[in-house]
Symmetry: C2
Subunit: 118 residues, 2 copies
DNA sequence: TAAAACTTTGCAATACTGTTGCACGTACTC
DNA sequence: GAGTACGTGCAACAGTATTGCAAAGTTTTA
């Protein structure tokens, strides 16, 4: 199961939701995939993205990814097809926060139209 | 009803979820507030923020806000108290997207600890 | 002013995603 | 072969968002 889920994520260049992964199988329970993804996440194999569509999406981490603030990159959500792309070469810019605010994490989702949908 | 909801949002400096607004009333239906907020949103009085907590939050727009890409600002979610602050003086940085991607909108949520929680 | 038209509200029900409890089955260990 | 650990599927539940419908309230119109 873990191998299969991993392969599905590997094949895709985009981030997939639990539901989308489920669709790739004939007869596998949501909960099974859910727990597989959770295992992956606990072991830093994947990262999850909340792109605001209501469904969390998952994508493989790079080999050297530690899922720490330094590794954060931007995600792109296409308003037309709903696909979420990892912009792994675009780090989330560091912001100078107002006095008293400390930085721990960030979520930067850019929305627009992807090349396939123009 | 609209006046009351507006006043609640006006009083708060942070963004409120549907549930939090509901708490401010004694006996008002979620759906009523929901539709009120929707009306506000349709008329560009408020903007909604999905900070990844699972509940969408709402905050008043500035007078001159058009809710267009130029008006986008950063939001800060405190990992301790869960409150979401509008950083209205911090615009979302413009990113040079890869070839073929067009920009329409963005959601930039910074997470950390707010001054009250340190 | 009374009827008609429209708006707002509350209740109930539903959708969707995520999450957990439990039982069964398989595989591994001794 | 008994015992243990793990993975899977089913069913149920949680939380938020959303909609249909009817009753109540408000405005318009003749």
């Amino acid at each position: 199961m873990r191998q299969l889920v991993y392969e599905i994520l590997e094949k895709q260049k985009k981030a997939l939701s639990l539901y989308e992964i489920e669709q790739q199988f004939d007869n596998v329970e949501r909960s099974t995939i859910f727990r597989t993804l959770k295992t992956f996440q606990d072991n830093y194999l994947i990262h999850s993205i909340d792109d605001g569509t209501g469904a969390v999406k998952y994508a493989l981490c790079d080999d050297d990814c530690t899922c720490k603030p330094d590794d954060l990159h931007i995600h792109f959500l296409c308003n037309k097809c709903g696909q979420t792309h990892c912009m792994k070469d675009m780090p989330v810019p560091k912001m100078d926060l107002a006095e008293g605010f400390s930085f721990e994490n960030a979520n930067f989702v850019v929305k627009g139209i992807c090349p396939n949908c123009r």
